[in-house]
Structure formats: C-alpha cells, structure tokens
C-alpha cells in the first residue's frame, strides 16, 4: 500500500509545484510543468488502476443500505469504493485485511478481505522510493500503467485550495463543500470523511479525491453534526473570489493562454461555475484546478 500512498503524495506535491510555478519569476516554465504533468498522470494512473483491481474482488455493500442513502448519494458503487479504499488505506500500512470504516450499514467497521496479495502487493522491497514490485505490474495481466480508465469525463476537475490546502473536486460547477477528510482512526458508517489539511509532510489528500476518469455525477454527502462543525471552522473565514485553472481537462492549454492572454481573461473563461447556493457561506479564496 505504500506505493498508493506515495502516488497520492506525488499528486499533492505536483499540484503544489504547478501552483507555485505560476508565481515564479520569468513566467511559467512550459518544460518543467509538462514534466510535472507526466508525474501527475503516472501517479494518477497508478492509483486509479490499483483501486480498479481492488474493486474487482471487493465485497460491495448491501443494496438496501445503498438505497437508504440514495437521496443523499449520487455516487456509483465504484466511486464509493474508491473513496472507501482510499479511506481505509490512508495509513499506508500493508495488510492482508483492513478495517474499512465507511459505508457499512451496520455501523461497525468491517473487515474486508484483501484481494490476492500476490496480485496487488504494493510494498516495494527495493531501495527505490517509488519502484513498484513486479507483482503490481502483473496485476490483471496488465501493467497498471496500461489499465483502461473507465467512464472518462471531462466535466470533473480535481482542485487544490491554495488557502486551506485541501484537495477536492468540482464537477459541473457543483462544489463539494462538504468534502472533508476523515480522521486517521477508522470510524463507523455515520462519520464520514472530514477535510484533511495538507501540511508540509504531505498527508494524504482528501478521500474524496475524485479522479475525473470515473466521470460520475457529484454527490451531496450526508454529513454528521461533527462534520458540519468541523467544516465551518475550516471554511468560515474564507470566501471564494477566484478559481484559477491550471490545467484544462486534458492538457496544457492554460499554459499557452497565460503566455498570451491577460490573467483576468483566464478567470472569465473558467469552465467551473461555482454554485453559491451549495456553498452555504463556505468557500475558497483561491483554488487550483488540475485534471
């Protein structure tokens, strides 16, 4: 699981680099940012493919439990599992079974049988920080680099808040204002992920780090009172004023446009349209959008 953890770290580090490059003297370095996007792509592909493999043998929730939350959730099972998997494994500890604390209808953490370790053992025994073991590459008879990405849609974007340093998603203009990272201890079904700030040690990003390849409609998460309180503490003091797009849905169009257009024109051309009705007073001062 360390490799998935490292992949998530790399994603957050890369987003930071892209953000900081915009304020560097001399303008945006096209070469460097292109290389950073490659790292982003590689990390994302690896993480997504790893979770795809996990989902194939993952035991799904009871259908009734899903219906119970239907009015609050618009996620598909795969996306839910993605967040669960992220959530369950954020400690980065390799384990044959893990405690999955989210989305259990009985409210108790359930042990989920880990899939075949030989198929998805991510712990590298080499000295390399990020070299993946051969077992990983052989997963599902295909390298994780090559596994197809499902349901790719361009209307979901992963965004880094420059003020709170929280990574979340914006989909079709709907801001997941209740996206938040769960605490490090796995909890029951009623306690959903809280926002987790990224500190300098690059903790795992928000478990609702929805990758656009899943292309699912946004959800309104059911929130606990604790979660609401936590959110208000984190977001009360911020106001959305700008959403800065770093990368388009698939490329570097913004870099070129920055070279040639005024920044205000870029702001005006943003595809993300924040629905203030959803924000309920919370917001960002600045955010960076990737993927």
């Amino acid at each position: 699981m360390e490799c998935a953890f490292e992949a998530q770290n790399l994603i957050s580090i890369s987003l930071r680099k892209i953000q900081s490059s915009r304020t560097q003297r001399g303008g945006i370095k096209l070469h460097k940012n292109l290389l950073v996007t490659y790292v982003l792509r590689n990390a994302r592909q690896f993480y997504v493919s790893k979770n795809l493999q996990t989902q194939r043998t993952h035991q799904y929730e009871d259908v009734a439990a899903v219906r119970e939350r239907q009015e609050y959730f618009e996620l598909t099972g795969s996306l839910t599992e993605l967040s669960d998997d992220f959530y369950c494994n954020f400690t980065g500890v390799e384990s044959d079974t893990w405690q999955c604390g989210a989305h259990q209808h009985n409210g108790q953490p359930a042990e989920v049988a880990h899939q075949d370790a030989s198929a998805c053992a991510m712990l590298s025994t080499s000295d390399s920080d990020l070299m993946v073991s051969d077992a990983c590459w052989s997963c599902a008879d295909k390298s994780p680099w090559e596994l197809p990405i499902q349901n790719a849609q361009a209307n979901q974007k992963t965004v880094l808040d420059l003020d709170t340093h929280v990574v979340t998603t914006v989909t079709n203009g709907y801001f997941h204002s209740d996206c938040c990272a769960q605490s490090k201890q796995p909890q029951g079904a009623q306690c959903y992920a809280k926002k987790r700030k990224m500190d300098t040690s690059y903790h795992i990003v928000d478990p609702e780090f929805y990758l656009p390849d899943f292309g699912l409609v946004p959800c309104k998460r059911m929130r606990t009172d604790d979660e609401l309180h936590s959110d208000s503490e984190q977001l009360d003091s911020t106001n959305i004023s700008n959403l800065i797009s770093v990368l388009g849905s698939g490329g570097l169009s913004e870099f070129v446009s920055w070279q040639q257009t005024d920044l205000e024109q870029i702001f005006a051309a943003q595809t993300i349209c924040l629905k203030h009705t959803l924000l309920t007073g919370s917001g960002w001062t600045r955010a960076i959008e990737a993927f």
């Binding site: 490292e6 992949a7 790399l10 580090i13 680099k17 003297r25 001399g26 303008g27 370095k29 096209l30 070469h31 460097k32 292109l34 290389l35 490659y38 790292v39 590689n42 990390a43 690896f46 080499s126 000295d127 390399s128 920080d129 990020l130 070299m131 993946v132 680099w145 388009g248 849905s249 698939g250 490329g251 570097l252 169009s253 870099f255 070129v256 920055w258 070279q259 040639q260 257009t261 005024d262 920044l263």
Partner: protein, 447 residues
C-alpha cells in the same frame, strides 16, 4: 592530447578560482553559462544577473614556463536587464541562458548572448590609442569657439591605457514566444539558430527584424502537447544540418535543404526505454538537457538526468556509448522531485580531440569519461582543495553499506552545490567549471 586522468603522466590540478568567497551567495552572481572562444584565449561567463564577464588568457610567465598562463578579467558588461512584458503581464528574467562566440575575423571579438526572449550580438574591442590635437574641440572635449581657431593641425594618435569596450551591435528580439534555451552559430559564420520550447528560428547576423522559423512543434491543440524542445545545435561543419533534442529523450537531425520548415526530421535518434526501470519519474529523467556535436562532427553527445550518451550520427536506434554520471541517485528520485533537483539541467562538453567528455553533478562534483580507456574520474571543485597547483584528488561516492575512508555517502551529498555548466578548452587540457557563483579553472600537470 592526454586522456582524462589516472595514468602516471596526467593529473588535473587547481589553477584559479574566480568569484566571491562569501557563504551568502547573491542569486544574481550565480553563473548560468560558461564558454571558451574558438582559440581558447577568451573565456566568457554569464550569470543570473544578466552580466557577462570575459577572462583573457595571459601569456606564460618566462619564470615559470612549465605552467600555463592565468585567466584574468578582460571585460565586464551588463548584457541583459530585467524587462516586463506589459501585454502578457510577465516578467522577463535577465539571466543569461547561453553565450556563443563567433569566429574571430578581425581584431575585435564577437559573441552572442541570450536571455529568455532576446539575443544580443556584442562586440568586444580594445582601444589602446586615442586621437589628440583636434581642431574643433579641446582636450577635455569642450567645443572651441570657431572664431578663436587661428591654425589647423592634424590630430595624432597617442598611446593610452588599454581599454576594452563592449558594445551591442545587434539586438534580435520579439521572435520567441516561449523561453529560449539554446543558440548556436552556424559553420557559415553568417547565420545562427535560436531555440525555445516549441520553435527554432534561423537568423542572419546582419538582419534583426526578421528570422526564419525552421522548426515548429507546437500542436494545433495545446492539450495534445507531449514534448518540448530542450536544446539545439548546428553541425560544426555542415551548415545545412542541425539537431534538436526533446523532453522525451529523442534527438532529431534536420537538413535545411530538404524544406523550409524542418518539421520532418532526416534522422531520429532514440533509445528504447527499459521497461523494468519504469517509474513515476521516467519521463523526467529521460528528458535531454544538453546536446553537443563532437568537434569532428561525426558524433553527438546528449545529457539526461542520470547519464551521458554518445551517438554516432550514422546509427539512430541506440547510442554507441553510455556513461552513468550518478546512478546512485536513481533510488532518490522522489526526494529529488520534491526539492526540484530532478529538474536541474546539466550540460556536457567534449575535449578538443573528442577523446574525453565532461559533465557536472552534485556536491560540486564533476565527472570526466575517457572514451578510449573507458576510465572515469570524479573530481570536486572546492575551496579546500584550491591551493595553487594542488593536484585534485579523485572522489568517490559510497553506494553500498560500508563507506570507505575518503568516500562520501549518498545521503551526505549537498544538492545545493551543483555543477551545471562546464567548458573544455578547445585545444589544451584546461577546463572551466562553474560552481554556483564561483568559476574554477583546472589544468593538467604534466610531470
């Protein structure tokens, strides 16, 4: 010419060091390019502050004929100033990215210097005489009253203290949208090319208001961009041939006779990637940071993050020689990505006879590889070993568990001390190594 090192008849020793000794290094003083001229008499450096310093080789001392002369400051001038593009709200750095000398055709010296956007042609000339005895003005330059002139005289040239003047003769601007990374003087001595991330332009030395675009890899849809141009160089003898390297680790050789726009390469050099070494950073470490033709014109050398490769122009599918510069860093790529060191662009250079190559590394180490004996050596540019004529001791990085005496462990390397720019004298065994804000000059000691 002697080889790299290691034999009984050849050793490198310290000659000079230029630059401040202060621990507090001003960013403007960081050397960003180093280049010998065609004869090796002059050595030019450019720094991040836009300044160019030229050193001249003094003749050997009669008292110590066994030692080569020293390089002393010949001229210093401000080549580029910071600018601001108001239309794009972008600041243009004054950092000198490259300096390239022109072949000397008269008493004056010419060089091209470039920052991210503008290339300038500078004339460096000496003045050791001045005219005295003007009729219309006094010796201090003030105009004389014409009515008080009663006789005419012929001005005479009188000797004066040597003065070296640098004057901008041409300014080639507004031709690059992206950041210029390379300039290269053509063998016809009339044209030169300049390359940025996506385009390469061909200029004539006399014409500043237009250039020919000869390579354009910008896609119609920038979302399809997959690679950028990282370096370009003209062939040393064939004025119609040039090469450019890419961030994908490929090199394209183009012939300007084939078409006006050289988007279709004549030769494509690429080594297949080893799938077993694939990592998150494969694209970064395969990006070529420098490409240099050999003096003979038969080979070219490329530098990527971990290695130097020598290519035969007649073989495109793989390099003929590969030298690992600091393979021990492969396991540290994640850390190097975090601290941005993985984006460092190391340069490489040939010696005059093409028998050896040199490139820099971290901890102020630089590496030399002898192509004939296949021996390599790691040396360090440091003040501690900067005693006159002191022989440089080979250094070694310990990669295993046990560290021998005088070895340095990988974890002890100082990644802030990096040698990105090196130059080798075109004829002699004299090398110039830029270590942050200091310029070290080493030469061989023939026993």
């Amino acid at each position: 010419m002697a080889g790299v090192a290691g034999g009984n008849d050849f050793q490198w020793c310290f000659s000079q060091v230029k630059g401040a000794i202060d621990e507090d290094v001003a960013e403007a003083d960081i050397i960003s390019t180093v280049e010998f001229n065609y004869s090796g008499e002059l050595l030019a450096t450019g720094d991040k502050g836009g300044r160019v310093v030229i050193f001249q080789h003094e003749q050997e001392s009669k008292n110590r004929p066994h030692l080569r002369g020293e390089y002393n400051v010949y001229s210093t001038f401000q080549s580029h100033e910071p600018e601001f593009d108001y239309l794009k709200s972008l600041e243009i750095e004054e950092k000198i990215n490259k300096i390239r000398w022109l072949p000397q055709q008269n008493a004056a010296h010419f060089l091209l210097s470039t920052n991210d956007k503008t290339i300038k042609l500078w004339k460096i000339s000496e003045r050791d005489k001045r005219a005295e005895g003007y009729n219309l003005k006094d010796e201090d330059g003030r105009l004389r009253d014409p009515f008080r002139i009663t006789s005419l005289r012929v001005p005479v040239l009188m000797p004066m203290d040597l003065m070296v003047e640098a004057s901008p003769r041409r300014i080639f601007a507004n031709a690059h949208t992206y950041h210029i990374n390379s300039i290269s003087v053509n063998s016809d001595h009339e044209t030169y090319l300049s390359a940025d991330d996506l385009r390469i332009n061909l200029w004539h030395m006399e014409i500043t208001d237009r250039s020919f675009n000869i390579v354009d890899i910008k896609p119609a849809n920038m979302e399809e961009l997959t690679e950028v141009i990282t370096a370009a160089e003209c062939h040393p003898h064939q004025c119609n041939v040039f090469v450019y390297s890419s961030s994908k680790g490929t090199i394209r050789l183009c012939d300007m006779r084939a078409a006006a726009l050289c988007d279709r390469h004549s030769k494509f050099f690429e080594e297949p990637e080893d799938p077993s070494s694939r990592s998150f950073f494969s694209e970064i470490i395969s990006s070529i940071s420098d490409v240099k033709f050999s003096h003979s014109g038969r080979y070219m050398m490329t530098r990527d993050y971990l290695s130097v490769k020598v290519w035969d122009l007649n073989m495109e599918n793989r390099p003929v020689e590969t030298y690992q510069v600091h393979e021990y860093l492969r396991s540290k790529l994640c850390s190097l990505y975090e601290n941005d060191c993985i984006f460092d662009k190391f340069e490489c250079c040939w010696n005059g006879s093409d028998s050896a190559i040199m490139t820099g590394s971290y901890n102020n180490f630089f590496r030399m590889f002898d192509r004939n004996t296949r021996r390599d050596i790691t040396l360090e540019a440091s003040r501690e070993s900067s005693k006159p004529r002191a022989t440089l001791k080979p250094r070694k990085v310990s990669t295993g568990g046990k560290r021998k005496k005088d070895e340095i462990s990988v974890d002890s390397l100082d990644f802030n001390k990096k040698i990105l720019h090196t130059a080798w004298h075109p004829k002699d065994n004299v090398i110039a190594v830029a270590a942050t804000n200091n310029l070290y000059i080493f030469q061989d000691k023939i026993n």
